[in-house]
């Protein structure tokens, strides 16, 4: 499964729900797959994608989707424990798991060496979890995740296959557009 195809699929399920994109290729591909005001792109702060999404989920009743990555989440595993503690029913965490640090030279991440992030989520009291390896399975679990209470934690195994052009790096505009869709 390619991350770009999977991202396009997530967008078909998202409707107008806010989506937080992890830094790097995830944010770039989210922008290319379908730029919208409700996309919260990130450009730094590695490890905080799902923490930002948690802050959104406890502040709105809408479904909130986090597009995180294995390497980033490994930097902030505590975020999973905090999500388990808070139990936000409207949060859907998707981890694009390529089992590597793609941006830093394709070094193996810990998920290539035995770490199972779905098990981590389960042990943090997140009950609705899945690991998917193809688009059809992701489609199926997204259908549930967007319609049933969470929190949801979905590990999507992806192949790393090249990068798209870097999307516009405009954190202030991203926040402005996103926030205005809630407060204006």
């Amino acid at each position: 499964m390619l991350r770009f195809d999977a991202t396009k699929l997530v967008l078909t399920h998202a409707s107008n729900s806010p989506i937080v994109g992890n830094l790097g290729p995830t944010t770039d591909e989210l922008w290319h797959a379908g730029h919208r005001d409700r996309n919260f792109y990130t450009y730094g702060n590695m490890g905080l994608c799902s923490s930002i999404a948690l802050g959104m989920a406890v502040s709105t009743d809408e479904k909130v989707i986090s597009l995180d990555g294995d390497g980033s989440l490994l930097m902030n595993l505590g975020a999973i424990a905090t999500i388990g503690r808070e139990q936000p029913r409207n949060l859907v965490v998707i981890v694009w798991d390529n089992e590597q640090w793609g941006q830093t030279g394709h070094q193996d991440s810990h998920t290539a060496k035995g770490t199972d992030l779905e098990q981590v989520a389960q042990s943090c009291s997140i009950r609705n979890t899945a690991t998917v390896r193809d688009i059809e399975s992701l489609d199926e679990v997204m259908q549930k995740a967007m319609n049933e209470d969470g929190p949801w934690f979905i590990v999507a195994k992806i192949e790393e296959q090249g990068y798209m052009p870097v999307s516009p790096i405009e954190p202030e505009m991203t926040l402005y557009r996103f926030r205005n869709s809630f407060v204006s």
Partner: protein, 168 residues
């Protein structure tokens, strides 16, 4: 009002209802009151940078937020502040217990505590130090107002002289 009530009043006056924090004994008197007050949603983070991320997420959906931490935890959150709050311009008041000042008993807490304000200066962030309750309502209310006007974090540094600190 004592210092804990002044902070809670200032948060309410500025419609700041989402609080993310990492527990700290010296400012537990205020975070405990926040926890008990249904006006607030207090989220307990495992690490200070996580608290920053949660606060930014809340602000992005239109809910004002603030963070409570200790100065040692500020060290854990510098990149979150530098690479998220500053470039995206998110106004997050950061209430901080300052270690390393008069009365500090632990050598390990001194370097980060002493470096906190110089690092805030290097990042271009405004900070206020509170040693006592004199004018504290004006300072805290004003700091939060400035924080939102400037759309950048502001640090409110609370010393042991204000809150009594942690006993060895």
């Amino acid at each position: 009002m004592d210092w804990t009530e002044i902070i809670i009043d200032s948060l309410k006056q500025s419609d700041t209802s989402l609080i993310a924090y990492v527990p700290d004994i010296s400012i537990d008197r205020v975070t405990s009151k926040i926890d008990e007050d249904p006006y607030f949603h207090l989220v307990s983070a495992t690490r200070e940078e996580e608290a920053i991320g949660i606060a930014v997420g809340a602000y992005a959906t239109g809910r004002n937020s603030a963070v409570f931490m200790q100065s040692s935890g500020f060290g854990n959150s510098i990149n979150a502040i530098a690479s998220l709050c500053i470039p995206a311009r998110t106004p997050i008041p950061i209430f901080m217990n300052m270690r390393g000042g008069p009365g500090e008993f632990n050598i390990a807490q001194v370097p980060m505590g002493r470096a906190t304000r110089p690092i805030l200066d290097d990042l271009g962030l405004v900070h206020f130090t509170l040693d006592d309750e004199y004018n504290m309502d004006k300072i805290v209310n004003g700091a939060i107002k400035l924080c939102h006007a400037n759309r950048q974090p502001v640090a409110i540094c609370m010393t042991q002289l204000l809150h009594g600190g942690k006993l060895a």
